[in-house]
């Protein structure tokens, strides 16, 4: 099964907002609410940002938000900060029962 499709890179300036898309199919994102987003800094384990499309763990800043429309999920980061520079991965439950990750998006904060 092919990875979910994300843009390879996005960039923004401090204080701006950016959105990262994650495209799938009806057999994954389109049919399930188990869509999540992870942030990964170099040399570290991924960190959960968003689960169930738009739920945010208590320890995650409200600057991070998630949404879904059809077969595409999105992560929006508002009021960009330099520490937001990292790789971001989406993931979705699939019809096979196996979670599927996206290829990842590198966010550069200029």
């Amino acid at each position: 099964q092919s990875a979910l499709i994300q843009p390879a890179s996005v960039s923004g300036s401090p204080g701006q907002s950016i959105t990262i898309s994650c495209s799938g199919a009806t057999s994954d994102i389109g049919d399930y609410v188990f869509v999540c987003w992870y942030q990964q800094h170099p040399g570290q384990a991924p960190k959960l940002l968003i689960s169930d499309v738009s739920d945010r763990p208590s320890w995650i800043s409200p600057r991070f938000s998630g949404s879904k429309s059809g077969d595409t999920a999105s992560l929006t980061i508002s009021a960009l900060q330099t520490e937001d520079e990292a790789h971001y991965y989406c993931a979705s439950y699939t019809a096979t029962g196996a979670p599927l990750f996206g290829g990842g998006t590198l966010l550069t904060v200029l």
């Binding site: 384990a45 991924p46 689960s51 439950y93 990750f101």
Partner: protein, 120 residues
């Protein structure tokens, strides 16, 4: 607080097997599952397997069927991942993470990762 502590780095020859352990603490083990995810150099994560902390029920990624086994020792509580028939493209950082009890969904806490290098 929730913590998952993984075993140290491994270097293996092609064809060998590797066991990675994941000792959990700070939560009720039987109320959650644990998933294993790996990440090859410069690549995105890849889900491998899930095990229920309550029933020991397992689910494996199709790619790993037949050469991957995950198991738990609820007394410690620790989760083990055994990967057999290692190939060079199994070189990756292997992570365990706390998942939902009923099915693999999302990992809200992760171990620090274990680098497995397969090389002759």
């Amino acid at each position: 607080q929730v913590h998952l502590e993984q075993s140290g780095p491994e270097v293996k020859n092609p064809g060998a097997s590797v066991r990675v352990s994941c000792k959990t603490s700070g939560y009720t083990f039987s109320r959650y599952g644990v998933s294993w995810v790996r990440q090859a150099p410069g690549q995105g994560p890849e889900w491998m397997a899930w095990i229920s902390g309550k029933h020991g029920k397992t689910m494996y990624g199709q790619k790993f069927q037949g050469r991957l086994t995950v198991a738990t020792d609820s007394s410690t509580p620790t989760v083990y991942m055994d990967l057999r028939g290692l190939k060079s493209d199994d070189t990756a950082v292997y992570y365990c993470g706390r998942d939902l009890m009923g099915s693999p969904s999302f990992l809200d806490h992760w171990g620090q990762g274990t680098l497995v290098t397969v090389s002759s």
